[in-house]
C-alpha cells in the first residue's frame, strides 16, 4: 500500500514571492496494492511532482510518504528503487544510450540490490531470461541484445524501459526477510518468528535433500544438478510467500513522445504486463480516452489539489465529456476564488 499524508511541495521557496509556485497543496492519497490508477490534469497541476515525491527524486516540504505503513519520506531515490519502476516521458531518459540492450537489462535486473565490484556483471542464465521476456514484446529486440540502445527508435527504447521497470528482480532471501519484518503490519518480533518458523525447516529440508542427491550414485552429474535445482526451487517458493514488496509501476506520460501507432502498442503492452503481474500502477496521461480505457481508478489533479477521484463501476461509466465538464468546473472555481 502506498500513501501520501498531507504532502505539500512548493518550488522557488527561497526566491522572490511572486516566483513562489505551490505544486502540491496538502495532498492526501491512498493507493491499495494491485490498483491501476490513471492520473489526469493540466500542465503544472502537480501530477509529475506527485510521482517524483513518491520515488524520492523530490523531497516534500511537509507531510509523509508511506510504503506499506512505513515512513519512507527521508529515503533517497536509490534506496527506494527496489520498490518502484519508473518510466519517463522522454524515451532517452529511462535507458543508457551508450550501453547495449544486454547491459541495460543487467542493470535493471539488479535494481535496488547491492552491486558487487568483484562479480562479473553478465550471466548466461540472465541472458536466457531476457530473451524470453523480450520475445513477448514482439519488437525483434531479442536479436539485438548487443546493439547500443542509442541507435534504436523511441518506441523500442520506451518498450525496453518498460521491461526494465517491470522486470521481476527477485530479492535475496535476506532482503525478503528484512522487508517482511519492516513492512508487514504485524509486530516486528512476531513477524521475525513467523518467517523463521518457515524458513529454518525449509532450509534444513533443502540441505538434507541436497546431501541425499549428492550421495546418490545412480544419478549422473547432470541429473544431480537438475535435481538440486528442483529442490532449491521448492525451497525458494516457500520463502517467496513472504515476499511482500510487490513492485509499483510509475508511468509518467510514457507514450507522449511516441507516434499514435507505437503509443498504442506500448500501452497495450503496459496493460498486459500490469495485469499479468498484478502490479500497483500509477499512469499519468493527457489522453482522456486512455485514462478511461485503462485502469480501475481515476484521479484528476488541478492546481495542486485532487479534485476528482473515482474507481470501480463508477469509473467504468465515465465518458470523455464528463471529464471535460469536470475540468471546466474546476477552472471556473479557480477564477471565482
Amino acid at each position: 500500500m502506498l500513501e501520501l499524508r498531507n504532502v505539500t511541495k512548493s518550488f522557488n521557496l527561497t526566491g522572490a514571492k511572486e516566483d513562489l509556485r505551490v505544486a502540491l497543496d496538502h495532498i492526501n492519497l491512498q493507493i491499495e496494492s494491485g490498483e491501476f490508477v490513471t492520473i489526469i490534469g493540466g500542465n503544472g497541476s502537480g501530477k509529475s511532482t506527485t510521482m517524483n515525491i513518491l520515488t524520492g527524486v523530490l523531497k516534500p516540504d511537509s507531510g509523509q510518504v508511506l510504503l506499506n505503513n512505513v515512513d519512507v519520506t527521508n529515503m533517497n531515490e536509490h534506496q527506494r528503487a527496489a520498490y518502484f519502476g519508473h518510466v519517463f516521458q522522454d524515451p532517452m531518459m529511462g535507458t543508457s544510450g551508450d550501453m547495449s540492450v544486454l547491459e541495460n537489462l543487467e542493470i535493471a535486473y539488479r535494481r535496488g540490490r547491492k552491486h558487487s565490484p568483484f562479480l562479473w556483471g553478465f550471466k548466461k542464465s540472465h541472458k536466457e531470461e531476457f530473451i524470453r521476456e523480450l520475445k513477448r514484446f514482439d519488437l525483434g529486440l531479442e536479436d539485438r541484445l548487443n546493439q547500443k540502445v542509442g541507435v534504436m527508435s523511441g518506441g523500442q527504447r520506451q518498450a525496453l524501459t518498460l521491461l526494465m521497470a517491470t522486470m521481476r528482480n527477485k530479492p535475496t532471501h535476506k532482503t525478503v526477510k528484512k522487508d517482511y519484518i519492516t513492512f508487514s503490519e504485524k509486530d516486528h518480533d512476531v513477524a521475525r518468528k513467523e518467517f523463521e518458523s518457515v524458513y529454518k525447516p525449509a532450509l534444513t529440508e533443502f540441505k538434507k535433500k541436497k546431501h541425499e542427491i549428492r550421495n546418490n550414485k545412480s544419478l549422473s552429474y547432470k541429473e544431480k544438478r537438475n535435481a538440486i535445482a528442483e529442490a532449491y526451487e521448492e525451497f525458494d517458493k516457500k520463502v517467496r510467500q513472504f515476499d511482500l514488496t510487490k513492485q509499483i509501476l510509475l508511468l509518467d506520460e510514457h507514450t507522449a513522445a511516441l507516434d499514435p501507432k507505437t503509443a498504442n502498442k506500448v500501452l497495450e503492452l503496459t496493460d498486459k504486463i500490469v495485469k499479468e503481474n498484478q502490479m500497483t500502477t500509477l499512469m499519468i496521461t493527457h489522453n482522456m480516452r486512455d485514462a478511461i480505457k485503462y485502469g480501475n481508478r481515476l484521479i484528476m489533479f488541478h492546481t495542486g489539489h485532487i479534485i476528482f477521484d473515482v474507481s470501480g463501476e463508477e469509473k467504468a461509466k465515465l465518458t470523455v465529456e464528463d471529464l471535460l465538464k469536470k475540468f471546466d468546473e474546476a477552472d471556473k472555481k479557480a477564477v471565482e476564488m
Binding site: 533517497n76 536509490h78 528503487a81 535507458t95 543508457s96 542493470i107 568483484f118
Partner: protein
Amino acid sequence: MDFLNVIFNILTSALPCCLLAIGVFLTFRLLNFADMTAEGSFLLGAALTAACIYNGLNAFLATILGMCVGVLCGILTGVLNRVLKIPKLLSGIITLTASASIALLIMGITKPGDLFATQIPLASSLAKGSKIQTIYSTFYPWNEFNRLVEVIVMAAIVLIVIVGVYYFFGTEYGMAIRATGMNEKMASSQGINTTVATIACIAISNGLIALAGALYVQDALSVSTVSATGYLVIGLSSILIGEAIFGKRSFKNWLISVALGAVLYFTIITVAIKLGLKTEFKSLLYAVLITIALCIPLMKQGFKSLFKKKEREDNHARA
C-alpha cells in the same frame, strides 16, 4: 642501434601515458567529467614516489603510495563536486591548485633544512653513488642496456591495468558506474547511489594517473613542478587520436584504442623531432595533432558519403 634506441624512447615515454590516457578516459568519457585533477595527481604521484625512493623506501611500496595519493586527490574532487555541489571544472581546479603546494612540500622531504623544494633529482643522487632502486632496477641491476627491462616491466603493468580496468567495468558495480556516467537519472532510478559511484570512478581514474606519474618518474629519474605539467593535454589528445583511428565500437575496443592512442601520439611527436622539428615547436605540433584527430571522424564520413554517392550513381546508371 639508433633505431632501437628511438623505439625504446618512444615506448618508455608512451607506456606510462597509456595509463594516464586510460585514467583521463575514465572521467572524461565514462563520467563526462572534464577532470582537471589529472594534472595535480600526476605531479603528486610522481613527487611522492620519487621522494620515497630518494629516502630508500622499497620501489614497489613507493609506487603504491604514489597511486594512493592520486586516489585521495580523486576522492577530494569527487566530494567537492558531489557533496559540496561545486561545479565539475571548478572542483578539479581547486584540487589541482591545492596539490601544487602539497607537491612542493613533498619534494621538500629530500632537502634537509628546507620545507619546500621544486624538484627531486634522483639521477644526480644516483651518480653520487647512492644505492636507490626503482621498480625497473629491482628486476635488473643498473646498466646502460636496461631499457628493454624497463619497457617489459612497463608493458606488463600497462597490460595488467588494462585487463583490470576492463574486468572492473564489466562487474556489477563497474556497470553501475558506467550507467551513472551516461544517464544519471536512469542510474538513480535503478537504485544506484550515483554520488558514491561518481566519487569511486574519479578516485580510480586519478589513482591510475598517479600510477602513470610514478612510472614516469622512475624512468626520467627526476621530477620538478615544471617537467610534470601539461600531461592532461597529452591524456586528452591520446584519447582523441585513439578513438579517431582505432574506433570505439565496444568498451573493450574503446579501452584498447585509448591506450594505443598514447603510443601513436608519442610516435608522431618523436618522429617529428627526429626529422628535425625544433623542440620549441612541440606545442604547435600538439595543437595541429589534436585538430587533425578531432577532424578524422568528419573526414571518414566525407569519404564514406563520397563512395556512397558514387555507388548510387553507378546503380542509377545501371538501372
